[in-house]
Symmetry: C2
Amino acid sequence: MAPEKKALEGVEWRIRVADGSTEVPVPDMGLARKVWLRTKGLISCLGSNVWMFLKKAWDIGANDPRKVIHCFKVGLALTLVSLFYFMRPLYDGVGGNAMWALMTVVLVFEPNVGATIYKCLNRMFATFLAGFLALGVHWIASRSGDRFEPFVVGASVFLLASMATFTRFIPSIKSLFDYGAMVFILTFSFVAVSGYRVDKLFDFAHQRISTIFIGTSLCILVIILVCPIWCGQELHGLTVRNMDKLADSLDGCVTKYFTNTNGEDDKKTQGYKCVLSSKASEDSMANFARWEPSHGRFNFRHPWKQYLKIGASMRSCAYCIEALNSCINKENKAADSIKKHLSTSCLKVSSSTSSVIREVAETVKKMNKSPTVFMLIGEMNGAVEELRNDLKSLSQLLDLSTSAENKEHETPLMEIIPVVTLASILIEIAVRTEAIVSSVEELAKLAEFAAHDGKSKRSEMKDKIVPDEEKPEGKLEALQRV
Amino acid sequence: MAPEKKALEGVEWRIRVADGSTEVPVPDMGLARKVWLRTKGLISCLGSNVWMFLKKAWDIGANDPRKVIHCFKVGLALTLVSLFYFMRPLYDGVGGNAMWALMTVVLVFEPNVGATIYKCLNRMFATFLAGFLALGVHWIASRSGDRFEPFVVGASVFLLASMATFTRFIPSIKSLFDYGAMVFILTFSFVAVSGYRVDKLFDFAHQRISTIFIGTSLCILVIILVCPIWCGQELHGLTVRNMDKLADSLDGCVTKYFTNTNGEDDKKTQGYKCVLSSKASEDSMANFARWEPSHGRFNFRHPWKQYLKIGASMRSCAYCIEALNSCINKENKAADSIKKHLSTSCLKVSSSTSSVIREVAETVKKMNKSPTVFMLIGEMNGAVEELRNDLKSLSQLLDLSTSAENKEHETPLMEIIPVVTLASILIEIAVRTEAIVSSVEELAKLAEFAAHDGKSKRSEMKDKIVPDEEKPEGKLEALQRV
């Protein structure tokens, strides 16, 4: 066989030459050497892939060490629950059903406190309910005689499983008891169907309930005591971060447009995209946060739902920034004279709007009512008013240029349009920022934020500006008409 | 006690009068009557709540009967798997471990085919892998003597559970094997830890694997044979529906603004909000769809990821419609003369843009390459060009009004701004519509859409317009510069 292969290789080599390519002919290799080279290539390719994968995994861990801690927490909880197997008295206490505790830990343990508690409570409650119902069904079935018992049990499983599955489609139940419905189906069919075989059904139900109780309590202890990650705190932090990002992108976009600086801080300018894409995580965090006990500065009944409203108002602002961005990235045809004319007031509007957003972010972060926010809103509205005046004076600029018949200074309307569009989107952003402010104020009211501390610089500032901020609403309304 | 209560009631009654209210005094009631009334109130309140809940549930079922069918499918699968309990030969065949099959059905059964297959395959694969690893660990542990066995097993559980949990944080693994990682942890700790107690470990692992195999095959059979809901088909349908909604809202908004018809079809106008909020469901559907076998017009390797790109381009268009909407809903101060001047061309742009979107929706729906889409793009670009010309002529209108010193016809610039903003957002929407078209074309290329059928009206139209559509790209580029 070996000589044949050699011959074939020879043919191949000659064909290559016939191709007319200028390739330098490689020296003829033995089969073993070829296999070795190919294997080496494969191994090095595999090795580099594995290396890349490990590097990526390392980066994930290094970027957020809490993920690594979570992994060890899962290991810890599982090892603890395994004790039930290794210690004979504990094992005998639950009649050999210790695996249910193990299973509970695997299924229930989530990275954050809220989700874990939600699953634990759902699992316990659903197991109790389903256990009792299944015992009732078993009692009825056992009275109906040997012939009918399977039918009674089968029909009850069919009906209750269908009904419980249906409740998972009802939004109000889904948000609170989705996992519970699944556990209900599981436990009910388990206990009801096993009733036909397991003789000591009551013991079986009792053991399942007590092992699940052991598993869930262990999970709750580990998740709360070892480096807990609170959903509420995460949601709070995400909201603050998103506000800062919004302010940064607004500032970045407008400054980039008027100062023609390009590409230096694109990452900052694109921050609003995080706001656009964080709806799903906000929803789930708000849903889990309400299961969490009082922690840090948050009470048990902290108004988490209000964060969703704040998120929605931020997103509506981010849509406008997206439109603004499209104005800016368009091939730039605006006349420089017009840009110059409006640049001061546009920059003022954007900087005052972003400082309102930053102030509100600070309010949420510190959970203190801000003394300066109304002043800042006043400033923002003043800047908007100024921008409107500049826009009005634009027409005079146009008139002047045409009536003076000074043709070289004339600006065609087409070159005004991009800047005018940008300005009116900016005004809309200012209007939507007010919506963010009012949703944060509602949060401050609901969560009873403390008044600002008297020592801060802001309180001194406030004393000076009280007359300005008396009727912010009047100004807001004036703004809506722009 | 009864006389005391009477006396108290008397006091209460007298206090009410002292309030100075004009309430007619109710006749004094006995305790029993009071309790009866309160109970009746409670019951009727509870009854109406239950009634409302049932009505809501009924509506959910009536709006989407497939949800009801899914519930019955779960019931059916569970009843079928219960047969293993009721039939002694089957039960004995898996050594009393039939409950694993039951559990598999409950945990694995999802409303659509893709998600079910994903979970089934993950469960089987992970169970095999974990089972073999656990047997290996058990073999090593059993060699290390009675004293060290628990430590070896405990350490292996801790390490492997932590590592498997960590892989769930790596995006590429999470999207494909998230459920598998969980099942791996579950099975591995089960089998490894049970090794310390269950004597016939190999039988245990074998039974677990065979019961899971029975459960998953039953699930796959039921989900595919009884009224299947295919994730791919759903994603396809959602994309088409969203395109139609986008076109409707665009048309609706612009028509509403220029014809001043209010509130008649608000639902249609708000359709773009569905596009904004469907990212999460698109992502999960595209993720599950790739597990589905060939079904209907979709192959196994249908380019589902391309639908996400189409969705992203639709959303970028929807952001602009949101900005457009905010222009329209602002307290309207645009001059009627200007509105009139631009209305024809704006309406033309919006109607031609929406017919491009509708045509593309039709392309996706029928999975046929559209012969007219380039003509429609040409029309759209023509309309955009017209709008630009109208915008240019606006300045002449302004010049005319001032130079003729015909003061009553003068239009201040401020009254032009809203319409001009709207027009430039419209132009941006036209640009973004091209992105939708090109992402759909990529889909057509990847999924090898058939060319249109020769009999349709469109092909006749195409023959006439070939010269116009030769260079659509050139026109696109011209548009970008607006």
